[in-house]
């Protein structure tokens, strides 16, 4: 049995565990074991990869001791830092951490491409391998710098949306330049390593990733993160072809196609095309300035609470504002009081609630809210007319009826939760401001809507007290 056979067998098992693990992630019941199965696959693959030391290139033979040491140190730094940061991050900060870890993967793929190109190894194996190395390098570098920009935006470190007139043209020019450099590297081919051109190629790719991401607004970041996740998967797959590593090819391709699917699902939920997200300036335009007739009515938190307490069916629509106010736990306390009284309570989640798809589910799960009372838009939208009351907390655009009726509204056509069809809607809101898209919300002016002004956490405490005082 050769060392190479052991490595190949280990990678085979690791790949099997990845796919089996991902499959188990299709249900909340089996998902925790799924990620652990995949985790063991990763441990096995990494351990096996150190067996590569038995069969290194001649040029590296003298460095082997040093390289092994460097690999262990690098592994320690990467795992140590990521493990600690991953344990520490708050659930609200999850999207930016996912973006950051994803960017690191893209960077690693680009690093592999760089080593293979600088060493002339890729060129040595011929035209196709060189093309794949370059392609993986470009995509990986774009995913790295783009994800870092996405992380900075979501983390509030970069608030400006930087746009300039000929941005599309500049990006196109950069891409063309990267392609030209690639052609040059390919033309030199085996026997030469045009270091200068390779360095320029990676620099141009990194700048392209930054310029592609800076014009995209915060609301669209989920789509972008998902897209870069798919990019990194593809880059990993391409570098897997270069290194002849089937585990990288399969894992990368699976993630690439899964990420692409997820990106399209998400863009669809926002009623936009993927190219529209990347190339247009959402949120920059003013809404048509259409004035809405009627006025907003406000109600005390305690009155709203008692109204819901005597209802038989209540649907709660949480938005990101709920998590920002850290009010999930108080909300669940309130829900339990209602349930004790026999009120049928369910949660309605819009596909883009939170800062990435499914983010709101995670935030509710954190508060211990069971997922069997949480429903998707398609499952629950029919039930709003049957509800005595709908409670909207920290959500705005996703309940705006203008998306159904007002063709001039920028959010027209977006699927929304039909809160306006409930007998009575209570909207918990800090003030009279507009939503993320800058559009006025017709729901707030409707006859059957009452506004409860105040910080979500405070409002929930008042509601709980109101019910407890009933005895």
């Amino acid at each position: 049995m050769t060392v190479n056979f052991i490595i190949a067998a280990a990678f085979f098992i690791a790949t099997l565990l990845f796919i089996y693990g991902l499959k188990r992630m299709a249900s909340p019941v089996t998902a925790p074991s799924g990620i652990r199965v995949a985790g063991w696959g990763m441990v096995l693959a990494v351990a096996a990869s150190f067996l590569y030391a038995f069969d290194v290139r001649e040029a590296a033979a003298d460095n082997l001791g040093m390289n092994l040491f460097l690999a262990l140190v690098a592994l320690g730094i990467g795992v140590g830092w990521a493990w600690r940061s991953g344990k520490k991050v708050a659930m609200t900060g999850m999207p930016q951490m996912v973006a950051l870890y994803n960017g690191m993967g893209g960077g690693a793929a680009a690093a592999i491409a760089a080593v293979e190109l600088y060493s002339g190894n890729a060129q040595h194996y011929g035209f196709a391998v060189t093309v794949l190395a370059l392609l993986g390098g470009l995509i990986g570098a774009v995913a790295l710098s783009g994800s870092i920009v996405a992380w900075a935006k979501l983390d509030g470190r970069l608030n400006k949306t930087i746009r300039f007139g000929a941005q599309q043209l500049v990006n196109g020019g950069l891409l063309a330049f990267a392609v030209l450099l690639s052609i040059y590297v390919l033309a030199v081919g085996d026997g030469g390593t045009p270091d200068m051109a390779i360095t320029l190629f990676f620099l141009v790719s990194l700048v392209l990733g930054i310029l592609l991401t800076t014009p995209i607004g915060g609301a669209d970041m989920p789509v972008v993160i998902s897209l870069y996740n798919a990019f990194t998967g593809l880059a990993v797959a391409f570098e897997g072809f270069v290194l002849q590593n089937p585990a990288m090819i399969i894992a990368g391709t699976v993630v690439g196609s899964a990420g692409t699917l997820l990106t399209f699902l998400m863009a669809k939920a926002m009623n936009r095309s993927v190219s529209n997200v990347i190339f247009s300036n959402f949120g920059a335009e003013d809404d048509g300035g259409s004035d809405i007739e009627g006025s907003m009515k406000s109600v005390e938190a305690s009155d709203a609470a008692i109204n819901m307490y005597y209802g038989s069916r209540v649907i709660i629509v949480p938005g990101y504002g709920l998590a920002v106010a850290q009010a999930q736990h108080k909300l669940y306390e309130f829900v339990k009081l209602l349930q004790k009284q026999g009120v049928d309570v369910s949660f309605a989640i819009h596909p883009v609630a939170g800062r990435m798809p499914g983010h709101m589910n995670v935030l509710l799960a954190e508060a211990g809210i069971p997922y069997d009372i949480i429903h998707d838009l398609e499952d629950i939208n029919e039930e709003f007319p049957l509800a005595d009351a709908a409670l909207v907390i920290g959500a705005n655009d996703v309940v705006n009826p203008a998306a159904r009726s007002n063709t001039s509204s920028p959010i027209y056509g977006m699927p929304i939760l039909n809160v306006d069809q409930a007998q009575q809607a209570f909207v918990v809101k800090r003030g009279q401001g507009k939503g993320y898209s800058g559009v006025e919300n017709e729901l707030f002016f409707a006859d059957n809507t009452s506004m409860v002004y105040g910080d979500a956490q405070k409002v929930m405490v008042e509601m709980i007290e109101a019910i407890k005082s009933l005895g």
Binding site: G86, S119, T232
Partner: protein, 101 residues
């Protein structure tokens, strides 16, 4: 680079195609409530790139290649470990009504 795992030409294309459909089928069935853990879980899976980075570093012949390889391993390891930790944390929180304490 070994005969037991040589992947070239059409074999490579077949693997690419089948893996792409596998990803599509597996993810297409995941309910929306799991989309965030799913994204970070698939993010974790492409952390396998660390294996390639280790290969590149072990085979580095010049200080430049060593430096880039080192960075690659740090980044790849961060991708894998970070993706795992956040996914595991999120999935641990999902509970049903009857499983409550």
């Amino acid at each position: 680079m070994d005969a037991t795992t040589a992947i070239t030409g059409f074999v490579a294309l077949y693997i690419f195609m089948l893996a792409a459909f596998t990803g599509y089928e597996i993810i297409g069935r995941v309910p929306a409530i799991l989309h965030t853990p799913l994204m970070s879980g698939s993010n974790f899976v492409h952390g396998i790139v660390v294996v390639g980075a280790i290969w590149a570093l072990l085979n580095a012949g010049t200080p430049l290649e060593q430096t880039i390889g080192f960075i690659g391993v740090v980044l790849g390891a961060g991708n894998a470990a970070g993706g795992y930790v956040v996914t595991d944390r999120m999935l641990d929180m999902f509970k049903t009504s009857d499983k409550q304490e």
